[in-house]
């Protein structure tokens, strides 16, 4: 339900970055593979509504998101997209529970403690809900970041380099968790990475 056509983006005066046309069906699990600078993050940001490309058409779940203005695009993103970032970026001074509550608050979703507990439980970190991110292990922080991305039950789950700096076992586990969570919420999963180790886990691949 994602359709990208004739996409190009120009950063400053640099030559435009051209991206291939691309179609994704509902519930598919995609891997975007490519070197750094190949446009993985650009593509991810465009379909998340974080970046307006210089050229092209983008439709996500039937919504022409480039036509959405300002606050409406932000609202659409909050309600539709969950994002896991490489550097996690959990809010340091908020507890694990409050990091998830922040996601609900900013997406204008009801603040629902039961749903937060359920989401953390599904990722095996329910016991840490009162802790600050800094008190958690790297693996636990990774799980909290995924929990924050899925707590609003997004239809589209995006992950940008989720396995960088992880050992083989951890990398495999993160990809499994993402796939599991996407399946749990019926979400379409798109993972952007340069990490060839996780290639085997995805049937659909877009190589840039």
């Amino acid at each position: 339900m994602i359709a990208v056509r004739g996409l190009a983006h120009r950063y400053g005066a640099a030559q435009a970055l051209r991206l291939p046309d691309w179609k994704v069906a509902q519930g598919e699990r995609w891997l975007i593979l490519g070197r750094s600078g190949s446009g993985k993050t650009t593509l991810l940001h465009v379909i998340a509504g974080l970046l307006r490309p210089s050229e092209g058409d983008v439709s996500v779940f039937g919504e022409n998101i480039l036509k959405l203005e300002g606050t409406r695009l932000d609202r659409w993103r909050g309600a539709t997209v969950g994002i896991v970032l490489q550097a996690l970026h959990l809010v340091k001074h908020l507890s694990v529970r409050d990091n998830l509550r922040l996601a609900q608050y900013l997406a204008h979703a009801p603040q629902d403690d039961a749903r937060i507990a359920d989401t953390l439980g599904a990722l095996g970190v329910a016991a840490k809900s009162a802790r600050r991110p800094s008190e958690l292990s790297q693996g636990e922080q990774q799980r909290v970041a995924i929990a924050r991305a899925v707590v609003n039950r997004p239809k589209l789950l995006l992950a940008d380099e989720p396995t960088a700096n992880l050992d083989d076992a951890a990398a495999a586990s993160v990809v499994d968790l993402l796939a599991e969570q996407a399946a749990r919420h019926g979400a379409t999963l798109v993972v952007a990475t340069h990490d060839a180790r996780v290639k085997a886990k995805f049937r659909e691949r877009l190589e840039l």
Partner: protein, 401 residues
């Protein structure tokens, strides 16, 4: 979670900077509130004490001293004037009321004022106990005097010469307390009232006159200290003071003019303190600005992530503004409390100096202005950081790490 708790969380995450901003703002606001409370209460008190008194007539000297001693019973009197002056004033067509007072003695630091009954009536004083004096050597105590000394109706005391805190010789004659006044909130609360004759009596006994001719001579030389005058019509202001001042032994002081002059003199100090308070508030504004602005750098990922989670730029703007406003509101409220506590402390100190006139338990409408200014400071200080947050380039920030 809402904007207030979210911004409060960020403030708590920087305890040192937050405390510094709060302290500066609280000190500035507290100083201004203290000044507002003290100045307005003193002004009100002075106006209440001088209500209905258009002129103070007494011996030549400093007009301000004459006003302070004659109305507020603060300074030493300028001297005495002959009793005949009272009669002349009372007969003047431009004068509605002429209240003579005889000063000079005190009891445990409270001034003994020889005055006719109309003096108490002028302040609307009512008896709480006993009756009014009608014979020499009977006295009525003001409410504060009675409370401080614990002496009530039937009590006896001896006046001492002089008005200061270190009394002079005690006089032989004993006063009997025949009444206690209810609290009026005016200067009369701090006074011991008696008849003018009592004051004369005490001092004449002192000199021990023996024969009839001496007594006659003394009576002819009887004096009062000041006369409080109320005009019959506003027109009197144009001529009466000049008329009085032209007489060699008399001087007229206008309380309205002299208190305005006094407040101009005191005003310099008040303005200096106000300036100091404003400097503190400007420093507080800078501190809020610097705290928010420097924190932006380490918060840029937080802000970008918030955008990724669905927050609009306006929401980030609101978050930063809320931090400035919460900080300002908190600092201003602490400052308001501080100002009232300081005013109370100042009031207690004044009370110990027997000039109880200031309390921290009153609120003034000006304080709302102070609150509004403090909020304005928070808003202005947060404006630029909030604008920067609004302009967060979410894609670029997230792509960097």
């Amino acid at each position: 979670m809402n904007l207030a708790t979210l911004s409060a969380g960020y403030l708590r995450a920087r305890p040192l900077q937050t405390t510094l901003s709060l302290m500066l703002l609280a000190l500035g606001v507290g100083t201004i509130v203290l000044l507002v409370l003290v100045v307005s209460q003193l002004e009100e008190r002075m106006q209440r004490d001088a209500r209905g008194i258009d002129l103070v007539v007494g011996a030549k000297g400093s007009p301000m001293q004459l006003m302070l001693s004659g109305i507020y019973h603060l300074d030493a009197p300028t001297g005495n004037i002959p009793l005949s002056a009272v009669g002349l004033l009372a007969k003047n067509r431009m004068v509605r009321k002429a209240i003579p007072l005889a000063l000079g003695d005190s009891w445990r630091g409270n001034r003994i004022v020889g005055a006719p009954k109309i003096y108490a009536e002028h302040y609307g004083a009512e008896l709480r106990a006993g009756r009014f004096y009608d014979k020499p050597m009977e006295a009525v105590l003001g409410a504060e005097v009675a409370a401080r000394t614990g002496v009530g109706v039937g009590g006896k005391f001896k006046g001492a010469h002089g008005l200061g805190s270190e009394p002079g010789d005690e006089h032989e004659n004993e006063y009997t307390v025949v009444g206690v006044l209810a609290k009026s909130g005016a200067v009369i609360d701090r006074l011991v009232l008696t008849s003018i004759e009592s004051v004369w009596h005490v001092h004449e006994e002192h000199q021990g006159p023996e024969d009839e001719s001496d007594r006659k001579a003394l009576e002819a030389a009887r004096e009062v200290t000041v006369v409080l005058v109320q005009y019959a019509s506003p027109l009197a202001a144009a001529t009466l003071p000049r008329q009085i001042n032209s007489q060699s032994e008399l001087q007229a002081a206008s309380p309205a003019y002299e208190s305005a002059r006094l407040f101009r003199i005191v005003g310099v100090g008040v303005e200096a303190l106000q300036g100091f308070a404003l400097v503190l508030i400007v420093a507080a504004a800078l501190s809020v600005f610097i705290a928010l602005y420097t924190a932006l750098e380490e918060r840029r990922y937080d802000l970008a992530v918030m955008r990724a989670l669905g927050a609009s730029p306006a929401r980030l703007f609101g978050l930063l503004m809320a931090e400035g406003v919460v900080l300002a509101l908190l600092g201003a409220l602490i400052g308001l409390g501080l100002g009232h506590v300081l005013a109370s402390v100042f009031g207690v100190w004044l009370e110990s100096q027997q000039h109880g006139a200031v309390t921290g338990l009153e609120w003034r409408p000006e304080e709302l202005w102070v609150l509004a200014v403090a909020l304005g400071v928070g808003v202005v200080a947060a404006l630029l950081p909030a604008w920067r947050a609004y302009r967060t380039d979410v894609s670029r920030t997230l792509a960097q790490g």
